[in-house]
């Protein structure tokens, strides 16, 4: 019976198709907390070692143990790393979701599942491989404590055999995953090898999917966005990090803890980075504002609910002009929302966070490389512009591992901004005959500050969130208030020249433009190729920071139609563009997904194709 069904499918493939090489997605369904993270990492590292471009998406629940989790690994010979909605191969290790996982397979798909479930093989248009998971582990003589977790290695071995990953590569990947520790690596390898051999002897391969070595990952690294952010911050001279745990931002600070030894003072063994776990986000942001005021490079990392709590304090830092860096690793909101699902839903909130007339700088990294770069650059910007700088990453970029070129060493030295230490203050006063904290001496909106502790009788000033004049004195005069806001406005203009500029691919002959930001970039790049293959050529602009720059406005105005692709429900960047572009902007079309999952190229392609091919009535 079983053999018969398999023969059916085999017949389909035999009649139909070539082998599918390095161009499919393998999805592993397990239970949260079952230890599958390790086995999945081994798989992705193996492909990476084989030189195959890979992308990983971990779809996990807000739960410590037991709820379903899906990990998909995309191999792409063309180098695409965005999420695909469809997986050709399902490793169904969670009995609770298996029915759905199997249902979701496309015709011709592959399902690997434990033999002991005795599920049978109901779909005739897919391939089943049933694997004796328990038996294999039992035979491997693994200590009882490890058996459950290590059972995940069975699917690693089976996949390796079925889809052609060599055992040697797996062994290397295990060593990578266990940080070079032989003992656990080899214990796991024992199970992998056993499963591999079992599959070689017992399974007849009838599906077309195969990995083949390539040479596309040499010299590249695999890293998560949050780890990259931590490293960037450490290379950016961060001296204070205060935080309150929240998914998906926690691993930013975990990264700082993991690598702060890079900054440990070699002479004394003491720390140059203070890491304070605060009692809440109100305190976390207060600490970095206090530290930034005193002259530290201070950072916090949080997510939406934390940002909501920080709103009042951030307004103070904006108005009193105190540098600090706030990473928002966004998740799905409003409210607690879906803590383990991705979104770009905080954009508008960050842009004008706090009451009154406020505007903020928001950096929008799209890759792990930019997480590193913006990690150090954010401090230079905060110090230079004397204001809080937000960096908005998201769960997808922050928590998943991504391929990247090695990070480039910061090309610019640390920029402390306009800080007058003792001698500089003396020189300043002898040149200007005065120094006032909020006076615009350089006509760029940015004033000079002094730090507490500066040994000069005129260094002190009064920092306040209340109305103040350029001498930092309390003032209720409306002229003082307005002049101050005008200067802050000018400062913001200066900022727009200093922030990361958009990345553009523009050709005047094309009339369709796509604008996006952040982690949608890989999906947009892929969608453009799909569209082009279908005859729809597009230009592309990726916004890397707010405030908007003239380039963005020009790009919008230079097209017949511009699609704003983003991963929130309300089309928040679209709203900002409409607000900031005074000219006719009705040709902007919002493509806002916001379905809690990372963006896919297929969705973008489908939307643009639909709208371009059957245009809605022009207004």
């Amino acid at each position: 019976m079983v053999v018969e069904l398999q023969t059916n499918v085999q017949a389909r493939y035999n009649g139909q198709s070539e082998p599918v090489v390095n161009d499919f997605t393998l999805m592993v369904a397990t239970k949260n907390g079952s230890g599958s993270q390790t086995s999945n990492e081994v798989l992705i590292r193996s492909l990476f070692r084989m030189g195959i471009p890979v992308g990983a998406k971990n779809l996990f629940p807000s739960n410590i143990k037991g709820l379903p989790t899906w990990y998909s690994i995309r191999a792409s010979k063309d180098g695409y790393v965005a999420r695909r909605a469809v997986s050709e191969i399902a490793v169904a290790m969670n009995e609770l979701t298996a029915a759905e996982d199997i249902q979701n397979l496309p015709p011709g798909g592959v399902c690997i599942l434990p033999k002991e479930w005795k599920w049978g093989q109901r779909r005739e248009d897919i391939v089943y491989y049933e694997v004796p998971v328990k038996e294999t582990v039992a035979a491997a003589a693994v200590p009882a404590d490890f058996r459950d977790r290590i059972s995940n290695m069975v699917y690693v071995g089976v996949c390796a055999q079925l889809f052609s990953i060599s055992l040697d590569i797996i062994r290397q990947a295990l060593l990578d995953t266990f940080g070079g520790k032989e003992k656990p690596a080899m214990m796991n390898f024992g199970v992998v090898e056993r499963a591999y051999n079992w599959a070689a002897e017992n399974l007849e391969k009838v599906d077309p999917f195969r990995f083949e070595p390539m040479n596309e990952t040499a010299g590249k690294i695999l890293i998560s966005g949050n780890e990259a952010a931590a490293l960037g911050s450490l290379f950016g001279g961060m001296t204070v990090a205060a935080w309150y745990p929240i998914t998906p931002s926690t691993s930013v600070i975990d990264g700082v803890l993991d690598y702060r030894h890079l900054r440990r003072d070699p002479d004394t063994g003491k720390e140059t980075v203070a890491i304070v776990q605060a009692e809440d986000e109100l305190a976390a942001v207060g600490m970095i504002i206090g530290a930034g005021w005193a002259g530290a490079r201070a950072l916090t990392a949080t997510s939406g609910p934390g940002i909501s709590l920080m709103a009042e304090f951030v307004g103070l830092a904006y108005f009193a002009e105190i540098p600090c860096v706030i990473w928002d690793i966004t998740r799905t909101g409003p409210s607690t929302g879906l803590p383990t699902r991705t979104s770009q839903g905080d954009l508008l909130f960050l842009y004008t966070l706090s009451h009154g007339d406020t505007r903020h700088i928001v950096l929008l990294p799209a890759s792990v490389g930019e997480c590193f770069e913006f990690g150090w650059r954010a401090f230079d910007l905060a110090d230079t512009i004397q204001t809080p700088v937000f960096v908005m990453s998201d769960l997808d970029l922050g928590m998943n591992i991504w391929m990247s070129d090695p990070f480039a060493y910061p090309e610019e030295p640390i920029k402390p901004g306009k800080v007058l230490r003792q001698e500089e203050l003396e020189a300043f006063i002898s040149e200007h005959g005065e120094w006032y904290r909020y006076k615009d001496y350089d006509s760029d909106g940015i004033a000079y500050r002094t730090l507490p502790g500066t040994d000069h009788p005129r260094a002190a000033y009064f920092t306040r969130g209340t109305g103040h004049n350029e001498k930092a004195a309390y003032s209720e005069r409306s002229e003082d208030w307005v002049n101050n806001l005008i200067r802050l406005h000018n400062k913001f203009k200066t900022a727009s020249e200093l922030i990361p500029q958009p990345v553009t691919d523009y050709d005047a002959s094309k009339s369709i433009g796509i604008i996006t930001y952040g982690s949608n970039d890989p999906a947009v790049e892929e969608a453009r190729d799909l569209l082009a293959a279908d005859g729809l050529e597009t230009n592309y602009l990726r916004i890397r920071a707010l405030p908007l720059t003239q380039d963005v406005i020009d790009f919008v105005l230079n097209h017949k139609r511009v699609y704003i692709v983003e991963n929130n429900f309300d089309g928040q960047m679209h709203q900002i563009l409409r607000m900031e572009i005074p000219q006719d902007n009705r040709h902007m079309v919002s493509l806002a997904l916001g379905d809690t999952l990372p963006m896919t190229a297929q969705w973008i392609q489908a939307q643009i194709t639909r709208l371009e091919r059957q245009p809605v009535q022009e207004k």
Binding site: T239, V240, L262, K270, A291, G292, A298, P406, Y409, I414
Partner: protein
């Protein structure tokens, strides 16, 4: 007479106060000035921190040559934590109110003392929200009645008890009119390595109303000041009062009459109290609460425990003074690190 730094007392002054004449908070500012002058505090190293409230305005009124940070309501402790962590050489002197510390900032207060952030933390406790015009605070007496807000049926929070329970290493109470004691305690507090909490009873001349008082609310009503929040006290709203003072001996109990005719009872701790005993401190504070009197003096003191910067194992050089090469690892370090991710 110049102090050890060659400075006069006037050098330690700040801008003229804009508080109501006779406000207890002004007496405290004066004592801070005297203490700083007497102790020859280097003003460039002092940071003055506060939240929001009449009390929190006072850093403007002393030590004009020191950097100051008037933060948001109740959240000064986190500013203090950040600033002193960034620069361990700073001498932090903070002023807060009973609303600022006992309500909106209660959590930050408790966590500050738990971390033993090195600083002087003064609470100017008037049992009322001064700046928003006379609401009950969490330290208002149980059973107190206000014309507009009615009867306070909730027990009052004793901020000294809270500090001791929270792990504070220096806890004292005083009365703003007792210049000598306030000064002594301030000097001890500045010398303390760790968080030093001083809760100073500081009468609000304007809003500390007794039920039959005809001096404040009714007065305000007459002047048709609407009862919503003001961040200033309008001129003419306040009758000039004399500052209330109290001079009494150790072990002595005295009654002090407030501006509104109500009385508070103060008892000065004597040598019988061992401030190193946490247990004793808690016991006598609870007893004083039952007897409705305020114990003044040094209530609790702990041998220096590690301060936050030590807990964090920070460099001796303040983080804000680290040379650039200590702020950014080398290119070689990055390249090696990148290898480990390949």
């Amino acid at each position: 007479m110049p102090n050890a730094l060659g400075l006069e007392r006037t050098d330690y002054k700040g801008a003229p106060s804009t508080l109501c004449p006779g406000c207890g908070h002004d007496s405290i500012s004066n004592q801070i000035i005297s203490m700083a002058y007497d102790m020859s505090l280097p003003m460039h190293r002092v940071i003055k921190l506060s939240g929001i409230g009449c009390s929190s305005k006072t850093p403007a009124y002393f030590m004009g040559r020191s950097h100051a940070f008037n933060a948001v309501h109740g959240r000064m402790p986190s500013i203090a934590t950040g600033a002193t962590t960034a620069n361990r050489d700073l001498i932090a002197i903070a002023v807060s109110g009973d609303g600022d510390t006992g309500s909106i900032g209660f959590g930050q207060f408790k966590h500050l003392v738990r971390r033993n952030v090195p600083m002087v933390y003064i609470i100017e406790n008037n049992g009322v929200y001064g700046l928003t015009k006379g609401q009950f605070s969490a330290t208002s007496d149980e059973g107190q009645r206000l014309k507009y807000y009615g009867l306070n049926e909730l027990p009052s929070i004793d901020l000294c008890l809270e500090a001791i329970i929270g792990g504070a290493t220096f806890v004292a109470r005083s009365f703003s009119g007792d210049a000598k004691q306030v000064q002594t305690l301030l000097k001890a507090a500045v010398s303390h390595r760790g968080t030093a909490i001083i809760d100073i009873i500081s009468p609000c001349v304007t809003f500390n109303n007794a039920p039959d008082s005809n001096k404040s609310y009714p007065y305000g009503k007459e002047h048709e000041i609407p009862l919503h929040e003001y961040d200033f006290i309008p001129a003419g709203y306040v009758q000039p009062y004399e500052e209330i003072t109290a001079d009494y001996e150790e072990g002595q109990t005295i009654d002090v009459e407030m501006h509104d005719g109500s009385r508070i009872r103060l008892k000065k701790l004597d040598k019988g109290h061992d401030p190193r005993s946490r247990h004793q401190a808690i016991t006598i504070l609870e007893q004083a609460q039952r007897e409705q009197l305020f114990l003044t003096g040094l209530l609790y003191y702990e041998e220096p425990r590690q301060v936050l910067g030590e807990t964090l194992q920070l460099t001796d050089t303040p983080l804000t003074d680290l040379p650039k090469e200590k702020l950014r690892p080398s290119k070689d370090t990055l390249d090696k690190l990148m290898q480990s991710f390949m």
